[in-house]
């Protein structure tokens, strides 16, 4: 069954078929999510939210684009909302940790790699800086780089998701890399001076 046929079946009341749709696209959505949140459990939660929303608005999918493109759009919107919320929340967390003495640090490495501890340690700092730099990118640039690097999408596919032209995506990616470079070099330098 194609995605579209599956969706017709689900809409006519066969909920169990949604599982097939899930299994086809779950990995893809998860990769997008982790590209935005850099944390496994958070990416799981976000993936769940994306599919729940997809199910709730399934009737609005008319099939004039690929289902995966439609799903990517939901994932991108959800992920951006999520990171906006988190940025707001992190201000409170910092205040909170100031009073409780707790460290409000997000883990970027949960179960991601199995290396020796020393390597892991260097890696975690590196990871944290990279995640931080990615999070500082303006939203459009961030979306372009996540779709390109985490989902291996071509510029044409990204342009489809973002409803823009290939040229615009190319420019966006170029700018994203420049911003990322500036931000990372800045973080590296600050790190070295600590």
């Amino acid at each position: 069954m194609t995605d579209f046929e599956l969706i017709q079946e689900i809409l006519s009341g066969n909920l169990t078929l949604f599982r097939q749709l899930l299994e086809r696209h779950q990995a893809q959505v998860f990769r997008t999510c982790i590209g935005f949140v850099h944390h496994k459990e958070d990416a799981d939660d976000l993936t769940q939210e994306v599919f729940i929303q997809a199910y709730q608005s399934l009737a609005s999918f008319k099939g004039d684009s690929e289902f995966s493109t439609w799903l990517y759009r939901i994932a991108v919107n959800r992920a951006l909302n999520y990171t906006r919320e988190r940025q707001k929340k992190s201000i409170f967390d910092r205040l909170d940790s100031f009073f409780t003495g707790e460290k409000a640090v997000q883990s970027f490495s949960d179960g991601a790699t199995e290396e020796n501890p020393e390597q892991q340690l260097i890696h975690n700092e590196e990871r944290e800086m990279i995640a931080k730099a990615l999070e500082k990118l303006p939203e459009k640039q961030r979306v372009a780089i996540v779709l390109s690097k985490y989902d291996d999408m071509s510029q044409r596919e990204i342009a489809n998701v973002l409803n823009t032209t290939e040229g615009a995506v190319e420019a966006l990616l170029q700018r994203a890399k420049t911003t990322l470079r500036k931000e990372l070099l800045h973080l590296y330098r600050r790190h070295k001076h600590q």
Binding site: Q26, F30, G111, A112, K149, Y150, T178, R181
Partner: protein
């Protein structure tokens, strides 16, 4: 070659798809520019970190979790958990509301209290008489 042009060609440089002319220009710039050479050294690490994150797998029970939530939503008793869990403001607001209600209820109940009014014709001592302890007058009228 300036930094922007150098950056632009770095991807191709890594892939080894740059023309020999551009390649030597990029190399000349890298040798002369500290920022670009630092970036050149760092970029593979960035790519590696992204690749590692990308090859993480979701929780094997995630699909089941989602299906369970959807089934719960279909049966009408469903209350979305995120209404309570995902709104950090919700809990403090609720707590403040409950505290507010409790305080105003206390004030209201307190104001309803009136001290017992004793009719001026009775002395206050009369109030302490225990009626049950008074012996019936007939007791003394025996025989």
């Amino acid at each position: 070659m300036n930094c922007t042009t150098c950056q632009k060609h770095l991807d191709a440089y890594f892939d080894g798809t740059l023309s020999p002319d551009l390649k030597s220009q990029v190399e000349a710039h890298l040798a002369a520019c500290k920022a670009c050479s630092e970036w050149y050294a760092r970029w593979p690490v960035v790519e590696q970190v992204m690749n590692e994150e990308k090859s993480t797998f979701s929780n094997p029970f995630l699909a089941t979790r989602i299906m369970v939530q959807l089934e719960e939503m279909q049966s009408k008793t469903y209350v979305p958990a995120h209404v309570f869990a995902k709104q950090p403001v919700f809990r403090p607001v609720t707590v403040m509301f409950i505290v507010g209600v409790a305080i105003s209820l206390g004030v209201l109940l307190g104001n309803l209290y009136r001290p017992l009014q004793v009719h001026p014709s009775h002395s206050t001592e009369l109030l302490y008489l225990d009626d049950a302890a008074i012996e019936p007058i007939s007791f003394y009228e025996a025989k």
